[in-house]
Structures are given as structure tokens and as C-alpha cells.
């Protein structure tokens, strides 16, 4: 089963970051957005765990969860188009499982179970992550004793994710503007140089961030 990571799509004019299409900033005035992050994450975890462990016969559970999720989706005011597109990401995976199990005697039950479970779990995560500011998610992780170094690293990654993506896009465009050959090898070399430059810039920025942290008293 080939695994294809979905490529992020950009509506680009100017900074990439704000127009990231795979993530929604959430509607701050929706009911769901205002619930506490710990509550949402805890509930999501329970739903995911039980859904994954539940045997196929527990139809009531699957139906109940589906109803709850649809209700939450409606209350969250997240655009339907956005939600359905995010769910479609699963399709190649599910298709793979369907194909493999289609010729098995007990296949149908198996692939349906996988399809239903994965859709329900994914929808849960989509709803939580698009109605909760990431810094709150981090705070919850911190409260369950995830090590500080990891939390800091995740926080910094999140903070500079968009900065670096913008830089990568700007470099790529600048390179593309000066690319007049169509040679494949040249293209790879150019892209590799861009990625290499990105690492160098990231490293230099990391040092400046360290200086900025020290300047405000970090020990």
C-alpha cells in the first residue's frame, strides 16, 4: 500500500503562513472553541481509544460517536468544505485496505471496520485541532508531564514553522525566476541548495534566538 503524504496546499500571495489551507484558525466565537483544551483533548482521547478498541459489533458506539461528531462539527462552525476535504485525505489508505481485503472471506467486515474507525478518529482530531489554539494544546501536554525540552522544541517548531516555510517559498521563487534551463539534474541541485540554505538560515536564526533569550535574562 503506497503511502502518500498529502502535500500542503497554499494560496500564495505574500506570506505563506496565514494562508495555510490544511489548518483552520477556528471560529473564536463558536461554542466548541471556548471549551477548555483539556476537556476537548481528554474527550477526544477517550473517543479514539474506545473506537479503536471496540469490536465491530458495537454498532451503537460507532453511531453514537458519529452523531456526537457531526453535532460538534455543526457547533464549531467550521466550513463543511474544509472538513470534507481533510477527511478525504484518508481515501488512499482506505482504498488500499479495501483492495487487499476485498478478496478475503471475512474481508468486508474488516475493511468496513477500518474505514469507519479511521474516519471517526480522524474527524475527532480534526475538530479538536481546529478549534483549539496550539499553545493551549501544548499547555495540556505540559500538564501531563511531557518533558520540558520536548515541549520547548515543539513550541519553537510551531513558532518558526511558518517563518521557515515563507523563507523556503521565497528562495524557491527567487531560484525559479533565474532558472532558464529545463535540465532535471540542475533542478535537483538547485532545490537541494535551497534546502541546504534553509538549514543554514535555520541554524543561524537559532543562534540569534538564543541571544534574544539571553538578552531577556534566560538562564
Amino acid at each position: 500500500m503506497p503511502c502518500r503524504r498529502p502535500a500542503l496546499q497554499f494560496q500564495t500571495e505574500g506570506p505563506v503562513s496565514v494562508h495555510l489551507v490544511n489548518h483552520h484558525h477556528g471560529q473564536p466565537d463558536s461554542l466548541v472553541y471556548r471549551l477548555s483544551a483539556a476537556l476537548k483533548l481528554g474527550l477526544a482521547l477517550v473517543i479514539i481509544v474506545v473506537t479503536v478498541l471496540a469490536p465491530v459489533q458495537w454498532r451503537a458506539w460507532f453511531i453514537g460517536v458519529a452523531v456526537l461528531l457531526v453535532l460538534t462539527a455543526w457547533l464549531s462552525q467550521l466550513p463543511l468544505f474544509f472538513l470534507s476535504r481533510r477527511l478525504l485525505v484518508l481515501s488512499p489508505f482506505v482504498l488500499g485496505v479495501v483492495l487487499v481485503n476485498a478478496f478475503q472471506p471475512a474481508g468486508r467486515a474488516k475493511w468496513m471496520a477500518v474505514a469507519v474507525k479511521s474516519v471517526l478518529c480522524l474527524l475527532t482530531v480534526i475538530l479538536v485541532s481546529n478549534t483549539t489554539p496550539f499553545s493551549q494544546i501544548l499547555r495540556v501536554l505540559k500538564s501531563i508531564r511531557v518533558p520540558t525540552l520536548l515541549i520547548t522544541t515543539i513550541a519553537l517548531m510551531h513558532r518558526y514553522l511558518f517563518v521557515l516555510m515563507d523563507e523556503a517559498e521565497r528562495m524557491r521563487r527567487a531560484r525559479a525566476s533565474r532558472t532558464f534551463t529545463r535540465g532535471q539534474r540542475f533542478h535537483w541541485q538547485t532545490l537541494a541548495t535551497v534546502v541546504g540554505q534553509l538549514f543554514i538560515r535555520a541554524s543561524e536564526r537559532a543562534e540569534r534566538i538564543y541571544d534574544a533569550m539571553c538578552a531577556r535574562g534566560w538562564k
Partner: protein, 249 residues
């Protein structure tokens, strides 16, 4: 204490051996607003990084820097950094926390203040920077001008005696520049501003120091220096338009 900043014969070399600073000396009195001018590559940023001990990486005895009478040395970096608030050139380097509130609170928290005091300082600093209801905003969503103001707020929250700014208005649109200048005008701390924005210099600063290739080439009142067209052109600057059409006071 009659000097806020005292630099004597400061020298610095980059890793590849090029001389960045060749014996820089000057003083800044408390409450003064001094502009640090010079073409790109003159060593302005490098000089500023010496003022809170980030540079030199190793003490080499090449000149002295004194902040409020205290020499900058590894053992008193903590006190120095409380007194000196450095606003970096690239706001993305300085704004490393996820939300505005957390970033502005970073400094006071590092100072060891209690939660209530930290919250009070954050509120005050944000208000000073004109960002009163920006607390919950995510830092990566801010516009460039807003980022610069948050950086300033983050430094103001530490209530430093000396404020040092590295190119604070570059990349800002005219409105952003106006707003930032208005902010700076209201801050009573001693200010040292490295900048290319000559209009800002004319409006806010009383004194200017020109740095070129690591040496101080001029140090005097703003109007005198900036009106000296020959001096300006020689060191990669120019006489600002605002002075051409103005009567000197």
C-alpha cells in the same frame, strides 16, 4: 552616576579575522537619545551586542564597556541585562513565544517576579505599545509592524534604564514608522538607536554618532552632523530631506 553607557577603545574581530570594531569610544549620558548611524557593514549591530554582554563570546580585554558605571563582565551579566533592554533587528528572532502575552511576560518571568506582578507589567507594557488587547494573539499571525511593537513591549516589560534599538523602523510602512516613532518619544529611558531612518533621527535624537568600518568618524549634535552633506555622503549616508526644507531650531 553621570554616564549611562561608557565605551572605551572597544575592538572586536569576527571569526574569519576581519576587524569589526577598531577602537570605538563614546559615552551616553542618562536620559539622552543618541542615534548610531553608519552604512551597512559598519559594525553597528556588532557594537550593540557588546552592550548587554552577548559579545564578545570570550573576554579578550579589547576595550571596556560600562553600563551605569558597571563594567560588563560574565559575573554581572544578569544585572547588566536587567538594565539594558535590547530590541533586535529581526523581530522574528526576538518573538519566540507562541502568544503575545507569553512573549511579553518572558522577561518579567526571568526576572523572578510573581505572577501578579508579571501580569501587571505585561498589561502596562502592552498598553504603552498600543497593543492593549493583543494578549491572546498568536505571534506568527502578526503583521510586521505589530511584531516590532510586541518586541518593544517585551523589552519595556523589564523596565530597563537603557533602551537599545537595532534598526527599529526598517521594513515598516509609513504609518508603522509614524506609530513607532510616537511610541519611542514617550519612553523616558536612555536611548541608543542604530538606524538608517534619518527622519527618525531628526525627530527623536539630540545627538548622533557616525560609525564607518568599525570606527567612530563623527560624534555631535544631530543638526550639525546631518547638515554636513560632505560628511554624510562620505560615509554612505545622505542629508535627510526633512532638513533641506526646514529651518533649524
Amino acid at each position: 552616576m553621570n554616564t549611562a553607557i561608557e565605551i572605551a577603545d572597544l575592538k572586536y574581530r569576527y571569526h574569519d579575522g576581519t576587524e569589526a570594531l577598531r577602537g570605538v569610544s563614546f559615552c551616553v549620558a542618562p536620559g539622552e537619545c543618541v542615534a548610531l548611524l553608519g552604512p551597512n557593514g559598519s559594525g553597528k549591530s556588532t557594537l550593540l551586542l557588546h552592550l548587554n554582554g552577548i559579545l564578545p563570546e570570550k573576554l579578550s580585554g579589547d576595550g571596556t564597556v560600562k553600563i551605569l558605571g558597571e563594567p560588563v563582565a560574565p559575573k554581572n551579566l544578569e544585572t547588566i541585562r536587567r538594565q539594558v533592554g535590547l530590541v533586535f533587528q529581526d523581530p522574528d528572532d526576538q518573538l519566540f513565544c507562541p502568544t503575545v502575552q507569553e512573549d511579553v511576560a518572558f522577561g518579567p518571568q526571568q526576572l523572578g517576579l510573581g505572577d501578579a506582578e508579571v501580569a501587571a507589567r505585561v498589561q502596562k507594557a502592552l498598553a504603552q505599545a498600543g497593543l492593549a488587547d493583543f494578549g491572546r494573539r498568536a505571534t506568527h499571525h502578526l503583521s510586521h509592524g505589530e511584531k516590532r511593537r510586541v518586541c518593544l513591549a517585551g523589552v519595556l516589560a523589564c523596565e530597563p534604564a537603557i533602551l537599545i534599538l537595532d534598526e527599529p523602523t526598517s521594513d515598516l510602512d509609513p504609518r508603522g514608522r509614524r506609530e513607532f516613532k510616537a511610541l519611542l518619544r514617550q519612553i523616558p529611558a536612555t536611548k541608543l538607536i542604530a538606524t538608517h531612518d534619518l527622519e527618525l533621527v531628526v525627530e527623536l535624537c539630540s545627538r548622533a554618532i557616525v560609525l564607518d568600518r568599525g570606527s567612530v568618524v563623527a560624534d555631535g549634535p544631530v543638526f550639525e552632523l546631518l547638515n554636513d552633506e560632505k560628511l554624510m555622503l562620505e560615509h554612505g549616508l545622505e542629508r535627510p530631506h526633512i532638513l533641506r526644507h526646514q529651518h533649524p531650531h
